[in-house]
Every structure is written in C-alpha cells, then in structure tokens.
Symmetry: C2
Subunit: 432 residues, 2 copies
C-alpha cells in the first residue's frame, strides 16, 4: 500500500519517520506492507532531515490523482484548497486520513457523505486530542452506548496556562508569555486562548457521540483571557480547579432530544479525574447511561503523538481497503440545539461591593427574587481605605436565563460596584 | 442478527436489557438489527425481571449449535466447559464475545487461533477493565505504536480497599469488611486481594500490547494483604499513593527483546494520573515510543458498564460478520520473559531496628556494599521503652537480585529486628 502525504510540517515529518520504523511491525501483524510514496510540500528545495528528497513534490493534486497512491494522509492544514483535495481523493476511491480539525468542524458532514458515497474511509483520529485514541472508541466501542455528556480539556495551550496560574500563582499575561517561550502557544494565541480551537474539536466529538451534524458555529465559546488569579484562588478555597472545558450535552426534554455544545472556563472539583490533568495534556470525559464515567487521557498535540494517531488510522484504512470495507460515521441527523438560556448550571459569581452593613442582605434578596440560591460564599474586605469589599459566591444550578436576569439585577443595586467573575461549575457537581 | 447469550447473571441480564433499549440506535447507525434469541442459564425456572422466560434454556451447547444463532455472547464464566463451548461456536462460524478473563488468560492463544482458523471474531473488551474501551484501542488504534509499558489499576476491589485505607486511615481488615458489605469484595476475597484477578487481566493486555502469548502463569504476583496503614502513611509523607498495579514492560536488552509482567503494591507519585484513580474505578496507563503517555479510565466492573462493553463488541462482530471480515489479534509470538532478578526498580524498605547510636551507619554501609543507594529516608522512635526505632527508606533503582541480596544482608545485621515493608516504586519515577 502506497501512502501519499500532503504536508510535511511537524506532524507530516514525524509520520514519515514513524512509518519507516514501524512498517515491519505493521506487516507482521496485519499482512499489509505500507510505504510513503509521495510527499506534497510548499518548498521542495528545503532540506528536511530524514526525508527522502526524491519523494517531494509541490503539486498536492498530482499526489491525490496519482493512480499509484492508495491512501492519502492530509496534514497540510487550511480549509478551502484542502477540502477540494480531500474530496478529489475520496472521489478517486482513496481513503483519507486527516488531522485537520478546522476542515472537519466546518465541512464534516459533506466530507463524511462523500466518503460514504465513494465507499472508502475518511478517518480523523489525529484531528481531535492528538495522540489519544478517542475518535475510534467513540465511533466503534461506544456506538451503542447512550452517551449524554462529553466534556474535555482539548486544548493543551490553555491547560498549560491555567496549570501555571494554579500551581505557581503567576498571572494570565505572564503564563501566556511563558507558554509562548516554550512553544506551547503561538505568537498570535487567539485561536487557543479564545476557545476556538477547543470549539472545533468539541463540535467533531459531539457529532460522533450524539450522531448529529454539528459545526464550530453551533458552539457557544468563551476563552480564558478574563481569568484572574483571584478566580483561581477562590476555586482552590472551595475545592475546585479552574479549567477551560469543552462541554457537549444531550438533553431529553419534553420537546424531544436536544443538544448543547459550549466552551468556557469551568470550576472542576479537585477530586474529579479532569482536575488532575496538568500542563499541556488533554483528557476527554464521557458519561453514558450504561457505562457510567469514562476518561481518555494523553498528549493533545505534538508531532510524534499526532503521527501515532495518523499511523493508527492509516493501518486501519489500508486493512479496510484490502477487504473492500470502510468505516462510516453513519447518517448524521440535523441537530436540535437547546437554547443557551435553557441550560441549567451552577455558577461562581464574584462581586465588588461597598463595604457597609446590610450589603449581603440586599444581594441575597436580589438572588431570591430570581429563585437563585447560594451554595457557598466568601466575603472579605478588599480595600479598607476605599470601603470596598468582595463577595464571592457559588449558586445552586439555575437556568441561564435566570442567572442572566439575576446578574442584570445585581448590577443595578446601589452597593454593587461591579461583577468581575461569572464562571460556570462542571455540570452535575453542585446541588446534584 | 440473532444473539445467543450464555449466562444470565449480573452482566448477562444487564446486556439483554441494554440491547433491547439500544437496538434501534444500532440499527439506525449500522443497518444491523440485533435481537437476543436464546439465553442459556443453570435454572430456567427462576424468575428474572425483564427477561423473556421463553428465551431461557438450560442447554448452552444447543444455543451454540442452533443454526438460527448468528453471534454468541459468553458471560457464564468458568474455564473447561466454557472453553469447549467457545471453540464449538467458533468452529460453527459464529463470532464470540466473551467477558471471561480467566479463560483468555489460560487459553487465549488457542482460542485466538481457532477464531482465525474459522475466519470469525473472538472479541473480549468486557474481559478486561469492565466498561473501559481499552482492548480495541490497543488492538487497533495502537497496533503500530511501539508500546513499552502498560501499567494499570485493573482490580476495583483492591483499589477500593487501598483508597479507604488512604483517605480514612482504616486498617486493611476493616477496609476489606467494608468492601464486602458494599458488594465490592467477595466473601472469599482471595482472587482479588491476592492479585490473581489483576494477573489474568495484565496477561491479556500485555499479550495484545506486545504481540506475544502470555498467560497468568507468566505473571509474578503479590497481593495487598500485607499492606499496612504505616506503609500508606510513609507513602503520603514522601509524595506517593500506594496502589496495587499490574505492570507489563517491554525491555530492549543486549539479548534482544524481553517482556516482564507482574502485579504488586506500588508507590505512585501523587501527581501521576494513576494516583487520582479512587474507589472501585480502574485505569490503564500506556506508554508508547511515539505517542508518549496515555491513560484509559472508567468503571472496571459492574453489570451495566460490562454490558456496555459486551454490546460494543457484539455490534462490531455483527458488522464484521455481515461484511465477511473479522478482526484478528494476529500471530502472537512466544514470549521471552526477563528473569525477575534482572528488573531494575526503586523500592521503599521499612526496617524495625534497635534505637541506639550508629544504627543508620551500619545500614547505610550494608546498602553501599551492594551498590544500593538511598533516595530518601525517615527515622523515628517507635517505642522508647523497648528502645525500638523505625527506619523507612526509598532506594534508587537497583537490580532486583541486588535488592534481594541487600535485604538478606540487612536481616543478618545485629541492630535490625525485622524488615516489615518492601514495596516497589512505579518504574521511571525515582532517579530516572
């Protein structure tokens, strides 16, 4: 089986090296002999250690069209041109393995349909959570499991930053600079710290887990740029760790099944498995009606781990191609999204208030008017000279509409100077 | 597709119920219509809530032989009779899904060969770590990954007992009684607390991960019956949690590739992902040369979680059967086991000694003579009236032969009254 590789960056070059080292193992275990036969790059003249220069070409379309190529690996990134190349490969009857989460989150349904029409594989383990075997367990092992929750730490950059803020007490800005200096964050970190990378990944995972077609546009996104060391200290005092979570839920409502998909900073109890996921690692927690709680943990990015996932999928695609079989995600239904106002969550709310008697009573009354109740609270004097105090509280689960109305009401209260923290708590934890 | 179920205990009855609830989802996603057509039990007259009594029979051989049965689920347990039934089903061209770890750990190679000869599936996700998708990721996603370490908490009973000892300070005997009263431990707990259940599971996992044929007899086993609250307190003081781990390693030696497989109490650093696995949960940590560190976490036992794994495999077997394909573990090589004397580990050693000047110097000298060095140490007076002290130490990694010789030498020293703790540390942690 001859593999054509589109792209030779960190993942592509790691894949070419890994395949060379492991080809004999693959042949012994599956009977399939794999070799890389062409690599499409932008600059064929650049010296690439470990890469045979005679395999390089600058024409990815020629690699896809070459009748000698059996399987296509897409690790070049981008959306518009890449989509056309993937569709061309599938139409030519060639299975495709892609690491391109942005492409799948934008055009997944179209690409899956094209793969089914052609009767070949479109596999994408490397597109979500790097080296963690996650897509295949969800697609196959858990195909029949009634999954109602997928919640993950699926962005290593933000988890690194939050881990540093938690464990060393540094502020967001310093932790970001440190992450950039270590290569964990890009010079323009927006896609990571803004939550958009995590949104693409949870759209893909939720699509498979719930059997519906979700895109990045279906995801409510809030990043970590407003997280403060104060929020993290509050979390620690109350037995939580602050994490950027991607959360997909399946809701059984009186109007039928609904889905919700979102990315936001979240308080996670310290004894929850996700709380122990440190640094740049990823983990995805899955709850199913029969199986209960599962978690998949590992490296969410990096050349070698992602190459491992690419190779796993290439072996699968090659074995399937030889058999004339292919793996399908099945027909994805149109989602029926829950209005975000209908979500029921516990929240941590941080208020800056006047330091005078009776303030807490005024705030408690405002909460009570909206049927919102307090689960736990801290009150302290922030600045005696200016008579400023802080009230930090966790409310019991409430509809988001009620929480928003409550926050609006709090803002109009005379003793409330500002609301500077509104962070949700992991579903099912407070008052559950 | 008609499924015949052998056994209708906790897992079997949960599987029958789950399949009934999820059959429509399976049909929508795969096009395969599954139904349970026969259930072999010991007592067909017992009332079983939710089970159609017309499906019950006391003749498992008839279920296996029935031409109307397409797929066989074996959840009856036992070895000799069960082995014959599984072989008969495979010979009749019927894929088999089994939850029987003891059978696989004893006769896996024979059964895998029979499945390959018949060209049908023998799937066993439910046999290891209950509901956690683990066998399939190892068999398929990580088929090409150079795995060198599989280390897991694969017995929920012992993890529950050790968690209670750690978090509540109760002794082993009390924690065992509590586990028995909650149904986590059997009246005769030997298979669990003696490490034998974990040994069968790690033999299966190591066989797949390394591509060699290992049985329970290849596993060095030590249970948790000698673990004391003192060991656990020492572990906590030095940043460890004490866990019963099943450890399989692939060693590249000058004599070629060797394997080692063992089960024993182990000190795990508190910030390691396995340290956060509490109560009756299971988790399996995998290290691969390309992918790095992975962990799979979830419920290791229980009717519903295990039924989830059975159903996942049944769907896979049915889809494969329709395609005329089957999943093979491939040819398993004969293992080349490393002599346990050659293993290199760090150890925690607890000594009871005379409380008099110069004792530590005598002990340090004995260690030094065997080229064993101390990584950390606690010394305290256990009983002033009797002039008894304790020395607890962690040694840097050393060959097991040297550690054993050192322990023998220590026992002969005049001030050493006894050695009452010898617990290994997770490989790669101390001095690595």
């Amino acid at each position: 089986m001859r593999v054509g590789v589109l792209g030779c960056g960190t993942v592509g070059s790691a894949f070419v090296g890994l395949l060379a080292r492991q080809a004999e193992t693959v042949r012994a275990r599956t009977g399939v002999a794999l070799e890389v036969a062409a690599i499409a790059v932008r600059d064929a003249d650049r010296i690439r250690p470990g890469i045979d220069p005679t395999l390089l070409t600058t024409d990815p379309a020629a690699v896809v069209a070459d009748p000698a190529i059996d399987v296509v690996v897409e690790v070049m990134g981008g959306i518009a041109d890449t989509r056309a190349l993937v569709l061309a490969a599938l139409a030519a009857g060639k299975p495709v393995v892609t690491a391109n989460k942005a492409l799948l989150a934008a055009s997944g349904a179209e690409l899956f349909a094209a793969a089914d029409a052609a009767g070949v594989d479109l596999l994408f383990e490397p597109a979500v959570a790097g080296g963690i075997p996650l897509v295949r367990p969800l697609r196959e092992s858990l195909l029949a499991e009634p999954i109602d929750l997928v919640v993950g730490i699926v962005n290593g950059t933000t988890n690194y930053i939050l881990t540093r803020m938690t464990e060393s007490g540094v502020g967001y800005a310093d932790a970001l600079v440190e992450a950039q200096s270590l290569g964990y964050a890009e010079a323009d970190p927006t896609a990571d710290v803004g939550g958009h990378d995590a949104a693409a990944k949870i759209a893909i995972l939720a699509s498979i887990a719930f059997g519906v077609s979700l895109t990045s546009d279906d995801v409510d996104v809030e990043g970590i740029t407003s997280v403060t060391t104060r929020d993290i200290a509050f979390a620690a005092r109350h037995g939580f760790v602050l994490k950027l979570l991607a959360v997909a839920e399946r809701h059984e409502t009186t109007d039928g099944v609904r889905q919700s998909v979102r990315v936001h900073p979240t308080l996670v109890p310290v004894d929850h498995p996700l709380a122990a996921v440190r640094g740049s690692f990823n983990a995805v927690f899955v709850h199913g009606g029969a199986v209960g709680d599962l978690m998949f943990y590992g490296p969410g990015a990096g050349g070698a781990p992602t190459a491992s996932a690419v190779l796993g999928d290439v072996v699968d695609a090659a074995v399937n191609l030889r058999r004339g079989a292919h793996a399908s995600v099945g027909a994805l239904d149109v989602p029926n999204l829950l209005d975000s106002d209908e979500l029921v969550d516990a929240w941590y709310i941080g208020l800056v208030v006047d330091d005078r008697p009776g303030v807490l009573a005024v705030i408690a009354a405002a909460l009570g008017e909206h049927d919102v109740s307090i689960a736990s609270m801290d009150q302290d004097v922030a600045d005696p000279s200016d008579k400023v105090a802080r009230i930090d509280l966790v409310i019991h689960p409430a509809r988001t509409a009620a929480v928003r109305a409550t926050l609006d009401a709090l803002r109009t209260l005379d003793p409330v100077r500002s609301i500077d923290a509104t962070v949700r708590v992991l579903p099912g934890v407070v008052g559950a």
